[in-house]
């Protein structure tokens, strides 16, 4: 495999729109901080979004409830991206906000609720008004598409479920015969987002990333996508990563940009770093009843701040204290000194 940074999907055949540009500009030209080498992928989230996310792209902000990169969603809103296809198993509040902000043309999803609370009101209103195209799966269907994309497969089979209406509503669901038994299976094609954004607990400057806790679909989204923007609570020395290689879900050579973004996931959470802001999820349910209130929220908390650091400062020390979590470390393991 071509080991150059950011070389990505050399084997994936048909190039999508923008892919040739991507090959040309795959290696970051600009070092954001002065002390890093010109080859470093470290940059601000704003630079990463400007460089890799374009109008009309299909993007996947990864994370099942956990590690949702809200900061990336907010930056995309600030940069005024349009006509995006937003893919996520659970659109969550981050896509509710992006749909309300006018970033989206289409939604690919498998559960569009506010988890444990209710409905995603902006998304729902857009769909009921016919203003947002949808492509819908079950969770397993959605994840199967990512897994096929990540594995470089043309399709992946699933067993029949006897539920037929979703299959009939989405032409990506097809049936083929199992060549071994002759029985029917359902198949789905791969999903290759233009850009996946994955938030992690820690990464080194090259993009080798440790994540733990719920690991939903981050690895699959990263391997399936054409570009990967990594955001991390901490940037650590490569030696920290190499001390625990089993915890590395994402290797550097599929990563294009590495951004140090503490508290990136709020109101989602980062296991061991800060808690899920359940109060916010409950509050959003009421706030989002009125489009006017959503606009006010976006004006104040997204457009009204330059970046995540300012957002965190605005959240204030009381909230950060409320979301702080006591330590519960794992027992250490030894890999042995061979």
């Amino acid at each position: 495999m071509d080991a150059q940074p950011g070389s990505g999907w050399a084997e994936s055949g048909a190039l999508s729109h923008g892919e040739e540009d991507y090959v040309k500009e795959a290696r970051p030209k600009v070092g954001f901080q002065e002390k890093i080498t010109p080859m470093s992928k470290l940059c601000s989230l704003s630079e990463a979004v400007a460089r890799y996310i374009h109008d009309g792209d299909c993007i996947y902000l990864a994370g099942f409830t956990h590690l949702i990169p809200f900061a990336a969603g907010h930056e995309i809103i600030r940069q005024g991206r349009k006509d995006l296809t937003l893919a996520r198993a659970t659109p969550d509040l981050v896509y509710d906000q992006m749909v309300a902000a006018g970033c989206a043309r289409k939604l690919i999803f498998s559960y569009m609720g506010n988890p444990g609370v209710g409905s995603l009101r902006a998304v729902r209103a857009a769909i009921e008004a016919g203003a947002l195209e949808i492509e819908e799966y079950s969770h397993f269907g959605m994840i199967t598409r990512l897994q096929a994309g990540a594995a470089g497969l043309p399709f992946l089979p699933m067993k029949l479920t006897a539920a037929v209406d979703l299959e009939r509503s989405n032409p990506n669901y097809r049936r083929v015969s199992d060549p071994f038994t002759g029985q029917e299976v359902v198949v789905l094609p791969p999903l290759h987002p233009d850009v996946a954004v994955v938030h992690v607990q820690r990464a080194d400057a090259n993009g080798n990333a440790h994540l733990w806790g719920i690991i939903g679909e981050q690895k699959e989204a990263a391997f399936a996508a054409r570009h990967v923007i990594l955001t991390a609570e901490e940037i650590v020395d490569e030696a920290v990563i190499r001390s625990d290689p089993n915890r590395t879900l994402i290797p550097e050579f599929i990563v294009d940009a590495v951004c140090h973004v503490p508290f990136c996931a709020h109101p989602s959470y980062t296991q061991g770093y800060y808690d899920r802001d359940n109060d916010f999820y409950l509050r959003w349910d009421q706030l989002s009843e009125s489009p006017e209130n959503i606009r006010t929220y976006l004006a104040e908390w997204v457009l009204g701040v330059p970046d995540r650091a300012a957002y965190v400062e605005k959240l204030g020390p009381d909230l950060l204290r409320r979301l702080s979590v006591p330590e519960r470390p794992a027992a250490p393991v030894s890999y042995g000194a061979y």
Binding site: T65, H66, Y111, S138, M158, L160, A163, R276, N278, V325
Partner: protein
């Protein structure tokens, strides 16, 4: 007069359906409470799996969502979603799944997707999530829902997950491995499938009449030959629900 709410009543009866040692695919809301109640009462060895990929969870507080960090701390294992849906569910390692939705019909089909036409929805609901596959591949499925006529139509507007018969397709002909919906727990009683897969009334809660259930069901409801009367929630069950599991009454209302 009953000194418990409809949510408490349904949660308690759902909890009682769980057997010690069951591997349960836990959903959000009342199923979450039911599983945690069962684990604190008659089923201490209940093995809780969450679709977020948490295996053997032992949450120390009520999780608001199925991806809450409290599920992870102290769990037996964490895996990817692809793993949880393949290694655990599709492979046949799950005993019980909980399902929910806006409509459930005569043959146990559930609609969690849309009221009205799919292309031009009157009400757009959250959609399948894990339920399409849970209904197919878990050994037993249970449903907790308030008993109202609009929630119990003769046929669902959209079949998000499969019961026993729908649009000329019979579950057993398709060869899905799971047993399908085994009980629907409502605030009035319990419905269970007969041998043809039709949901019939098998139990009434205290003070409820058959006529009341029929009034709130959208098809001519058949009644089991031996209609049971359920035992009301015990003080201990109510204490655990109110004091330990949902003191803020986020789900109990």
């Amino acid at each position: 007069m009953a000194d418990y709410t409809a949510s408490e009543l349904m949660t308690v009866h759902a909890a009682r359906l769980l057997r010690d040692g069951d591997v349960v695919f836990v959903g959000v809301g009342l199923p979450n409470l039911a599983c945690n109640l069962a684990r604190r009462t008659h089923a201490p060895n209940l093995y809780m799996i969450y679709e977020a990929g948490v295996i053997g969870a032992r949450p120390s507080r009520l999780p608001l969502s199925i991806g809450d960090p409290t599920l992870v701390s102290g769990a037996a294992a964490v895996c990817s979603m692809y793993d949880v849906f393949t290694l655990y569910l599709q492979r046949g390692n799950v005993d019980v799944g909980f399902l929910g939705g806006a409509q459930i019909d005569r043959y146990g089909n559930i609609n969690a997707t849309v009221i009205g036409d799919y292309q031009r929805p009157k009400v757009r609901l959250p959609g399948s999530g894990g339920s399409m596959e849970i209904a197919a591949w878990a050994n037993r499925c249970y449903i907790i829902t308030p008993h109202q006529k609009r929630r119990f139509p003769e046929t669902v507007d959209f079949q998000t997950s499969a019961g026993f018969r729908y649009g000329g397709i019979e579950r057993r002909q398709v060869g899905v491995r799971g047993g399908g919906p085994q009980a629907v727990v409502t605030n009035l009683g319990i419905l269970e499938p007969d041998s043809s897969g039709e949901l019939i009334l098998t139990a009434l809660h205290q003070g409820v009449t058959v006529a009341q259930v029929q009034e709130n069901t959208g098809w001519p409801l058949r009644v089991a030959e031996t209609l049971r009367q359920t035992d009301p929630p015990t003080p201990e069950e109510l204490r655990i629900l109110r004091e330990e599991l949902d003191p803020g009454r986020i789900y109990l209302g």
